[in-house]
Each structure stands twice: as structure tokens, then as C-alpha cells.
């Protein structure tokens, strides 16, 4: 009896979680322009459309540039923030962590409104710079958290050994702890990249036509007309997530502490 309940509920839940993407994504290869089964042959022509049509291509390039820029800025501020926080006192750590992590909990619409207003006032409205800065703020908490986790997860033995040899706290930190945290930085960088690449709400408020990103193009496409090209873009974004997860997994295996 209990086994039946367990397996049925598990099967239903798994179906709900997996089936939508498994059913919909293959339609990117559908021969007809209708998004439904049975598929009428296999075609790559929708991919061709996406890879050759100017709006999709430029949106992809924009997304790539914004995500790379945001990643670099997020790693710099997130990394400095973590190392600075770790070296502060107990209360300092608490307050600083709260501040640095807080963008994760502010609803993105609120961030969008606030940034659109403030950046507009500062004359930064509607360009790459504003998108990069905004996405860096969204990515920095993830860098902060992953570096922090990898620093805290480090074995204290090495640190203690260094202390017993008379190394100062800062020296210890710089020569022993920091190099070991490198995988944390890489993980954080990946988080920041994918966050920016997938972000749509804040971008909707900030982007100008010249800096339209792929998620914005997908969003307006969904509202305008439902075409197979939209599923192609969705599929490409999913493949990117898959690659990202793979990279993350590889990184975690290599990291000395195995921390997330």
C-alpha cells in the first residue's frame, strides 16, 4: 500500500517536472510551423532562421557581451566583498553578508524600476553599461556565496599549520586560503554568467533596442506570435543550461573541499 502511494506520487511528480520540456523542445525540429504533434518530418530550417535572422543574432551577441561583462564585474566585486567580509569582525561579517546577499531577495521588478529610474537620472539609461552593472549586482551575491562557501569549507588544518609556523592572519589568508578558493571563484563566475544570460525582468526595464538581449527577444516573440523559432531559442538556452550544469559538476569534483 505505502509502496503504491510512494511510487505513484513519485511518478506523477516526475512527469510534471520533466514532461513539459521533453515534450515541447523537440518541436524545434518540426517540419510544419504548427507547434503540435505528430511532427511532420525533421527539419533544421527553424535553426537556420534563428542563426541567420538579424534580430535573433544580434540579441544573442548582446546577451553574450552583457553576460561576460556582468560576470567580470560580479566576480571582482563579489570576490573582493567575500575576502573583505571574511577578514572583518563577527558583527561586521553579519552586516556585510546581509548587504551583499540582499539583491537575491529583492523582487526583480523592484530592482528594475529602481535601476531604470536611477540609471536614467545618471544618464546611463538604456545601454550596455547599465545592463552590465545591473546584472553584475544580481550576480555578485552568487559569487559572494560560492566563494564564501568554499572558503568556509576549507580544511582548517592547513590554516592551523600556517599559524603554528608564525604566519600572520592576512599572510595566511593570502598564501594559503585564497589559492584554495579558486574553484569557488570559478563556480561564482559561472553562476553570474548564467544569471545574466537568462535574466529578463530587469533587462526589460533597462535595455534599449540596440542592447536587446536574447531573453527579451524571446519574451516579445512569445507575446507577438508563437512560432517554431521561439522553441528553437528555448532549446538553445536549455542546452546552455545543460553545459553550465556539466561545467559546475566538473568544477565541484575538482574542488578540494567538494563544497557547493
Amino acid at each position: 500500500m505505502s509502496r503504491i502511494i510512494y511510487w505513484t506520487s513519485l511518478a506523477l511528480s516526475l512527469t510534471f517536472l520533466i514532461l513539459p520540456l521533453v515534450l515541447v523542445l523537440p518541436l524545434a525540429f518540426n517540419g510544419s510551423s504548427f507547434l503540435t504533434y505528430p511532427m511532420e518530418g525533421f527539419t533544421l530550417r527553424w535553426f537556420e532562421v534563428v542563426f541567420t535572422q538579424a534580430p535573433w543574432v544580434s540579441a544573442f551577441l548582446n546577451s553574450l557581451m552583457v553576460a561576460l561583462g556582468a560576470m567580470v564585474v560580479a566576480v571582482v566585486i563579489g570576490g573582493l566583498a567575500t575576502t573583505g567580509t571574511i577578514l572583518s569582525g563577527r558583527w561586521g561579517q553579519l552586516i556585510l553578508s546581509g548587504l551583499f546577499v540582499s539583491p537575491l531577495i529583492v523582487p526583480s521588478v523592484v530592482i528594475g524600476v529602481a535601476f531604470a529610474y536611477a540609471f536614467g537620472r545618471a544618464g546611463l539609461g538604456g545601454g550596455y553599461v547599465s545592463l552590465v552593472l545591473a546584472h553584475a549586482i544580481l550576480g555578485a551575491p552568487l559569487v559572494f556565496l560560492s566563494v564564501m562557501t568554499s572558503l568556509k569549507g576549507l580544511s582548517t588544518d592547513l590554516d592551523r599549520a600556517a599559524t603554528s609556523m608564525g604566519a600572520s592572519r592576512f599572510y595566511r589568508f593570502r598564501t594559503v586560503t585564497l589559492p584554495l578558493a579558486a574553484p569557488g571563484f570559478l563556480t561564482g563566475a559561472l553562476f553570474a554568467f548564467i544569471t545574466s544570460f537568462d535574466e529578463v525582468v530587469v533587462a526589460l526595464f533597462l535595455a534599449s533596442p540596440q542592447s536587446t538581449t536574447l531573453p527579451i527577444a524571446l519574451f516579445s516573440g512569445l507575446r507577438d506570435r508563437l512560432e517554431p523559432t521561439i522553441v528553437v531559442v528555448a532549446l538553445l538556452l536549455s542546452v546552455l543550461s545543460l553545459l553550465f550544469l556539466f561545467a559546475l559538476n566538473t568544477l565541484q569534483r575538482r574542488s578540494p573541499s567538494g563544497a557547493r
Partner: protein, 388 residues
């Protein structure tokens, strides 16, 4: 001593850059919308003379002050002021623009004003003006909550003004529905990931993480394709002859809640799984060996211990749902949009930054309050910190 000192200085040096960027690019914009939600500079700075004359009993003095103020604005300032006044009272815009264009030619008395446009005779326009001359205003919050002061100054909820209150109630309701559904659907998955065989739990974890890192937009797209009237689900049901006409599955509450549940499911599963992994298997075995059935064991031994994960997972989903915009916008109808949608509409369509800011502040405050409540509950009920 010297070493500790050096560490402190290093910390400060390292923090200069991130703190500066955070404050300039993040904290300052958030504070700017807080001030924007009560700021009335666009009106108070432009009706300088009128704000002094409005208290006087001399009608002509008020009329002259108004005309003087209107004449001293340039066309753009006047249009902006007119747009804001029109948000308070329909028709005010054209009245201000027309009067403003002719301000220098109008006789600076009340009679002159009324002769130019009879609407100036009506009290309603003057009331709106007198309420909006201070540099600070609660009017956006009054509109957002529906509570306005009546003649006696007491706050009252006026009939038909409760639209944003109802939208907030709807937002909370949808968030609650989504949280409950994610828990129901997520619990078996979390359980299997924590207690299943190595292969099963590995598989589930991979699927959950993959879903977690797949863009919200992509997953919403999938639901739009699935739920359309000639979409996959309807076609399947029609082919199976279960229905004769396509069901309306999208652009309504059903579509909103289902797609949001799917999007937020990983946020419920991961914390539950983390807690379940800490529940010792020996307890379950002990209960079974004492003769309890598997269902009874689950309900009395396992489930209560997993509740902490349920609360963290459900709370996370609930709080995240409150700010949702993209998914309801694509799968919901007009009756299913949440606060965020209206915030975006105010910015994009009607340029009403005051209302957008006021609603943003309310949304942000609710999230913060809920988080504090959650943290308080965690402290109250003890238990280790669960890392989500």
C-alpha cells in the same frame, strides 16, 4: 597586535570597491524609489505662488497666483504637471494646458479664469490643487491602499478604491496556492532524492538542478506551447475523445498557477531534500521494528522531522512568488496579474513613477517582513540553519 591590525586594514581596503559599487548602483537606486514614492517636487516646485495663496479667502488672489505660476512654467514643465494632476482628476490635463497657454492674456481674477474656462468654477479642481502643493505627498500610498482621509481627516476605505488592495490579496492568494502545490508535488521527489537508491536520487537531483538552472522564460515557453487551445494537451484530449471542444487552459488562473508551480518547484524540493537527508534512517527502522506500519511510521516519525524543510521550502516559494511578473504575464489573463505586473504597467504605459514606486515599496516591505518572520520562527522553533 600588529598583525590583527593589518588584517583589519586589509579588510577595509578590500571592501572599498565592492561597497562603493553596491551603494552607488544598488542601495542608492532603491532609496531613490522610496523617496520617489512620496516626492511631490514636480508639482510643489512649480506652483510656488499658489501654495502661498491657497489658504487665503480671497478668490482673486488665488486665481492670480495660479495664473502667475502657470505662465512661469515652460511648455514641458506645464505638460508634466498637467499629467500628474490628471492622474488625480480626469480632464485636469487639458484644463491646465489650455489655461497655461493663454495664462498671460487671462484677466488675473477668479471671474477672468471662469470666463476663460467654466471648469475653474468647480471646487473639485481647486481641491486637487490644494491637496498637492506640499513637497511631500502620501497620495500614491493612499491610492495603493485605497485609504484616503475624509473631511474629518480620518482614514477611510472608499468604495471602488480598493483595486490595489484586491490585487495584493490576489498576489498573496496565488503565492499561497503555488507554495502549497510545489510542496505537494515536491515532497515525493525530495523524499526519493533523500532516501531512494543511489541511482534514483542521483537522477532526481540532476533533473531538479537542470530544471533549476533552465531559464524561467524557457520553462514558461514550454507551458505556453502545451496549454494553448490548439496546443499539445488540448490536442491529446481531443484525440482521446475525452473532450469535444478545446479547454481554456491558458490566460486564466489555471495556466498561471500551473506554470508558476513548475517554475518554482526546485526551490521547494532542494530545502526539503537537505532536511530529509539529516533524518537518521535508524529511527524509521526502530519504529518499524516496534511494530508500527510503514504509513504510521511515516506520519508519526518521519513526517514531523521533515516539517522544517517543508516550511523553509514553502516559505521560499511563497516569497519568490510574490514578485513574479514574467510567468503570469505570459500565461495569465487580466484577472491573474500580480502586483509586479501593475508596477511594470505604471512605468511602461502611464509614466506614473510615483505609483510604481509606492507599489514597489509595499512589495519590498512585504518580502522583508515575511523574511524576518521566517527568521524569527526559525529562531523560535530552534533547529539548525538549513542551507537552501
Amino acid at each position: 597586535m600588529r598583525n590583527a591590525h593589518r588584517g583589519r586594514i586589509a579588510a577595509l581596503l578590500l571592501l572599498v570597491v565592492p561597497l562603493t559599487i553596491y551603494i552607488a548602483v544598488y542601495v542608492a537606486p532603491l532609496l531613490s524609489i522610496v523617496s520617489l514614492s512620496v516626492d511631490n517636487g514636480a508639482l510643489s516646485n512649480r506652483f510656488v505662488q499658489l501654495s502661498e495663496a491657497i489658504g487665503s479667502d480671497d478668490q482673486d488672489q488665488r486665481a492670480a497666483a495660479l495664473l502667475h505660476d502657470l505662465a512661469s512654467m515652460d511648455a514641458r514643465e506645464r505638460a508634466e504637471a498637467a499629467r500628474m494632476l490628471n492622474q488625480e482628476l480626469g480632464g485636469f490635463r487639458s484644463l491646465v494646458i489650455d489655461t497655461g497657454k493663454a495664462a498671460e492674456k487671462i484677466d488675473p481674477t477668479m471671474a477672468g479664469l471662469v470666463a476663460f474656462d467654466a471648469r475653474w468654477k468647480e471646487r473639485a479642481y481647486w481641491d486637487v490643487l490644494s491637496r498637492n502643493l506640499a513637497s511631500f505627498t502620501w497620495r500614491h500610498f493612499q491610492k495603493a491602499t485605497g485609504f484616503k482621509p475624509d473631511e474629518t481627516g480620518r482614514l477611510r476605505l472608499a468604495e471602488g478604491d480598493d483595486i490595489y488592495l484586491r490585487i495584493m490579496a490576489r498576489t498573496l492568494l496565488i503565492a499561497l496556492q503555488v507554495a502549497v502545490l510545489t510542496l505537494l508535488i515536491g515532497y515525493p521527489l525530495a523524499y526519493a532524492a533523500a532516501n531512494g537508491s543511489r541511482r534514483l536520487s542521483g537522477f532526481i537531483l540532476t533533473v531538479v538542478l537542470l530544471s533549476f538552472w533552465t531559464s524561467i522564460l524557457v520553462r514558461t515557453t514550454a507551458w505556453v506551447v502545451l496549454l494553448q487551445s490548439d496546443g499539445l494537451i488540448n490536442n491529446l484530449l481531443l484525440d482521446l475523445r475525452l473532450i469535444t471542444d478545446p479547454l481554456q487552459l491558458i490566460f486564466n488562473r489555471f495556466g498561471t498557477v500551473v506554470s508558476m508551480t513548475h517554475v518554482l518547484l526546485p526551490f521547494a524540493i532542494l530545502p526539503m531534500m537537505n532536511v530529509m537527508k539529516t533524518i537518521p534512517k535508524t529511527q524509521v527502522d526502530a519504529s518499524r521494528s516496534l511494530g508500527a506500519g510503514s504509513i504510521e511510521t511515516f506520519l508519526r516519525v518521519y513526517f514531523p522531522q521533515s516539517l522544517r524543510g517543508v516550511f523553509v521550502g514553502g516559505g521560499t516559494v511563497f516569497i519568490l512568488s510574490l514578485g513574479f511578473y514574467i510567468t503570469p504575464a505570459l500565461t495569465g489573463g487580466p484577472g491573474d496579474q500580480m502586483v509586479s505586473y501593475y508596477i511594470a504597467e505604471f512605468v511602461k504605459k502611464s509614466l506614473n513613477w510615483g505609483m510604481a514606486s509606492a507599489l514597489s515599496v509595499i512589495l519590498l516591505l512585504s518580502v522583508v517582513v515575511l523574511l524576518l518572520l521566517g527568521a524569527g520562527a526559525k529562531r523560535l522553533f530552534g533547529g539548525r540553519v538549513v542551507e537552501a
